[in-house]
Symmetry: C2
């Protein structure tokens, strides 16, 4: 059901500073920058092999702003690429609790859904269908 | 300098429970299980595309036990595969502070080193040379 890791989400206070560190310091390149109304965030995608590093700067109230307020900057989630998100959610629901029972609009026109992290070792876990 | 993401480290309280969730729930398979004296941990590696999910159960005092005590289970670090770790550390030191100035023995006979997370958005960041 899982094809690969699609991206790793990192919450940052300032997107430009995050981009500077990951490009100048680690040599990654920015592939795209966009805003998500759904998740109240600006985000930049930086490919690293077959995975994207997703830098997320919260722009309003929501899950990402809460994380920044409670934990500060840092690693936020792992997103797994699946071919069929409805099928993946149904399968996952046998082991995990779903936070999103139906997919939401994600970056780059994708469909995404999160599990309830309490059911998977406190790891924010996302499925992405592109 | 970075080839790809080598693995994502997740701290768990109980390795067998972690393995159960990631195999039964997400359909991943265990590639290897080992212990690290250096990092006082048992660890399991589960491939997902070109990346490994590394489940870490602390076995004694150290960075991982501290994380478990302070934060509970959860996402711990991103490890980047580099071809030459000494070169990678020298380059990274222009932008980041190094926690490990010289490489330490890592899983599977690798050589590894961590950056100081305070210098990279509070993300525990590891370089791995295999």
């Amino acid at each position: 059901m899982i094809e690969k890791i699609d991206h790793i989400g990192i919450v940052v206070r300032d997107l430009q500073n995050g981009i500077k560190l990951y490009t100048e310091g680690l040599g990654l390149k920015v592939e795209s920058i966009e805003e998500s109304e759904e998740f109240q965030t600006k985000l930049a995608m930086l490919p690293c092999g077959e995975v994207l590093i997703e830098l997320l700067e919260p722009t309003g109230a929501g899950m990402l702003q809460d994380f920044l307020n409670n934990h500060g900057e840092g690693l936020h989630h792992i997103a797994y690429k699946v071919s069929n998100i409805n099928e993946a959610l149904e399968k996952a629901s046998k082991t995990f609790e779903l936070r999103d029972k139906t997919p939401l609009p994600g970056a780059g026109g994708s469909r995404i859904a999160f599990l309830n992290p309490a059911s998977i070792l406190n790891v924010e876990t996302e499925f992405v269908e592109k």
